[in-house]
């Protein structure tokens, strides 16, 4: 058990878990402040010294003790962290509010503020006690031990490889197909040159009166590859004629049919 003494109150031994220091003189203050984890921790420490259930503590006493503590620290010109001073200011306000006649009190009532503080202290105290009880349990590696030299359980993975006859034969065929020497030959293709497309489209625009779809300019009986070439050449020819002001182009929608019409000069 830890011997604990208050830096401000007469030396006493308590069984709470505060900062440890068997000192009563004020010079211990600096070390003591290091030992508290913030103003709430200090308040809880002070509240515990009232030696009553946290539900029964006197908030006014607690406020006085805290402010007294801060005063002494300041008298010793100790650097106090800002949150200790914020808490001091808030407690000063709380105290003055509590001392006002009830009908002059503001909302929220000082009783509610005091209750809030008390509830927070209870919760912190509960968790501190829970931590102490938790860490006092029989802990593995300190009080209880697992087997020092376990043999270990091992799982060896073994692969069952799968492959079927067709995959095997197909793989061989693909190797063969891939590595066969390949001769590239470009076939003679039927094409429609741009010049012939220009002549052809110009001639047809001369006789047509209304919009015509570009597709209708293509040779009807041509074999597929020639049709493809003719389409490309006719399209370029139509663009060229439009540029020269001899034709108009219209397309009602993106990717829609392309219409061409001759333009009378």
């Amino acid at each position: 058990m830890t011997e604990v003494a208050s830096p401000l109150l007469p030396l006493e031994t308590e069984d709470w878990n505060g900062p440890a220091a068997a000192r009563t003189d004020d010079s211990a203050l600096y070390l003591e402040l290091d030992g508290w984890e913030g103003p709430l921790d200090l308040l809880l420490d002070l509240a515990r010294r009232q030696k009553v259930d946290l539900r029964a503590i006197s908030i006014l006493d607690l406020v006085d003790q805290y402010l007294n503590y801060i005063d002494q620290a300041e008298a010793l010109r100790l650097e106090l962290a800002a949150d200790y001073l914020v808490m001091a200011a808030w407690l000063t306000y709380l105290k003055s509010a509590l001392l006002l006649p009830r009908d002059e009190q503001e909302d929220p009532s000082p009783e509610e503020l005091a209750l809030r503080l008390q509830l927070r202290l209870q919760r912190l105290a509960a968790m501190r006690e829970a931590a102490a009880r938790l860490f006092a349990r029989d802990r593995l590696g300190r009080d209880t031990f697992v087997r020092g030299a376990p043999e270990g359980l091992r799982v060896d993975r073994k692969n069952m490889w799968q492959c079927d006859w067709f995959a095997l034969v197909q793989a061989y065929a693909q190797v063969k197909a891939r590595t066969v020497p390949v001769v590239h030959m470009v076939r003679d293709r039927l094409v429609m040159t741009l010049d012939s497309a220009l002549a052809r489209v110009s001639a047809m625009l001369g006789v047509a009166l209304d919009w015509m779809e570009l597709r209708d300019f293509l040779p009807a009986q041509a074999e597929p590859r020639l049709r493809r070439s003719a389409l490309a050449s006719s399209f370029v020819a139509a663009l060229e004629l439009a540029r020269l002001g001899k034709a108009e182009l219209r397309q009602d929608a993106a990717f829609g049919p392309l219409h061409v019409r001759g333009r009378k000069p």
């Binding site: 908030i59 509960a126 359980l153």
Partner: protein, 214 residues
């Protein structure tokens, strides 16, 4: 010695040899799908009162030395990790409130939690990130691990010391809930008179062992 059932022997051997606690499912998978639950109960009963015991922690089983023999075994062991007071408090808050965000931890402790504190607990394998809370800001929330239960000898979180009492006393509820509850009842506000320090003795907190105070 009495004839021991083959499955019980197999479970005993596997758990003795295992390097980490095992769930009944993992044991079953290792032993070809057998139902090991009865064997586990038999074994646990067999080891009651012996120097070694079979325990269940967070649904995982392992053998360990009997706690009352700690004094015989401890001295040869290196000290377990020392935790700061802040870390022990944060661990308790996570365990009793899980899942819990850093802001909630801080509102209970009244101080900022340095990032190292949670890191230490996660490095120890006792605390893990358990997702995010679906509120504005989506804060990360923390919870304890099966290793936490194993280390502290808890069969489950229900075995946390004093959990039921804390819950019944409302000490695990947020302050706001308690304030509104108290105001609704219109009663229990703190006394303002200085001499009220009379009645109930506050139960002293459980002893904290020497090596845990930071």
């Amino acid at each position: 010695m009495s004839q021991t059932d083959p499955l019980t022997r197999a479970v005993e051997a596997a758990l003795f040899a295992a390097e980490a606690p095992m769930t009944a499912e993992a044991l079953s998978a290792h032993l070809g799908g057998a139902d090991v639950r009865l064997a586990l109960r038999d074994l646990a009963a067999h080891y009651v009162g012996r120097g070694v015991e079979l325990v269940e922690r967070g649904q995982r089983w392992h053998f360990q030395t009997a706690p009352d023999l700690a004094h015989l075994l401890r001295r040869t062991r290196e000290e377990v990790r020392r935790l700061s007071r802040a870390a022990t408090e944060v661990l308790a808050i996570v365990a009793y409130h899980e899942p819990v965000s850093r802001a909630e931890i801080e509102s209970i402790r009244g101080v900022q939690t340095s990032s190292g504190t949670l890191d230490v607990l996660m490095e120890a394998g006792w605390v893990r990130v358990a997702g995010r809370r679906e509120v504005p800001g989506r804060p990360v929330i923390y919870a304890t691990t099966p290793e936490f239960l194993t280390h502290f000898g808890l069969a489950s979180r229900k075995d946390l010391p004093g959990l039921d009492e804390l819950r019944a006393a409302g000490l695990l509820d947020p302050v706001e809930d308690a304030v509104s509850a108290a105001l609704d009842l219109g009663g229990d506000v703190p006394r303002l008179d200085r001499d009220a320090a009379d009645e109930r003795e506050y139960p002293p907190p459980a002893l904290e062992s020497e090596d845990e105070s930071a």
